[in-house]
């Protein structure tokens, strides 16, 4: 459990630095002081702000969760069980594998349909399909060799 506690402490540190870093980058981008960013539609600006706030909130949530876990041994063990439960891990693995396959197939179908209407969308979806298939293939080869 001491090893896991050290791992959690490291996570808190990394997450805290990430929160700070993302905050600084975002402030630099919206202030326009260092980099001159082009004017974008309100929708994109709102989306970016929402995404930034959402990511920061999620990171802070995890920092608090890990902090609380480190206070009591019992909480730390519960966190360890939650993260290492074999059934949960299996669900994640199956979701990832199957989800990635479905995503690739749907992108391919989308690319074909988009090809009849819009060239930009067609090429974008084609690139996404190819990238997704390459990543999936690469991971498959990696795990074939590793296990």
């Amino acid at each position: 459990m001491e090893k896991f506690k050290a791992k959690v402490q490291k996570r808190v540190l990394i997450l805290s630095m990430t929160v700070l870093f993302i905050g600084v980058i975002y402030l630099i981008l919206i202030s326009g002081l260092v980099i001159d960013t082009p004017t974008v539609p309100d929708f994109i600006r709102g989306f970016n702000m929402g995404a930034f706030a959402g990511v920061e909130l999620i990171l802070v949530f995890f920092i608090v969760k890990y902090f609380v876990a480190m206070k009591k041994e019992d909480n730390l063990k519960k966190l360890y069980i939650e993260e290492n439960d074999e059934r949960s891990k299996l669900i994640l693995e199956k979701t990832g594998a199957f989800g990635m396959l479905v995503f690739t197939i749907l992108c391919a179908i989308g690319a074909i349909v988009a090809g009849f209407f819009d060239e930009t969308v067609f090429y974008t979806l084609l690139c996404v399909t190819a990238l997704s298939a390459i990543i999936r293939g690469a991971f498959k080869i990696y795990y074939h060799m590793k296990l």
């Binding site: 063990k77 519960k78 069980i81 939650e82 290492n84 439960d85 074999e86 059934r87």
Partner: protein, 68 residues
Amino acid sequence: MKTRIPELRKQHKLSQEELAYAVGVTRQTITSLECGKYTASLVLAYKIAKYFGLTIEEVFDFSDVEEM
């Protein structure tokens, strides 16, 4: 796969939560094991059997396992 876990828990007056905590899994995993929806790994099966002071064969019913 059928198991004797519900029966053993009753004998030892254990809740699913308590057993789950003792063997290092979530309560949902114990529930799935008892319903036969999930098959435990070798390590988990060993931990559960050891916890009850029994062998794996005494806790898990392998009669339904297909023979190759």
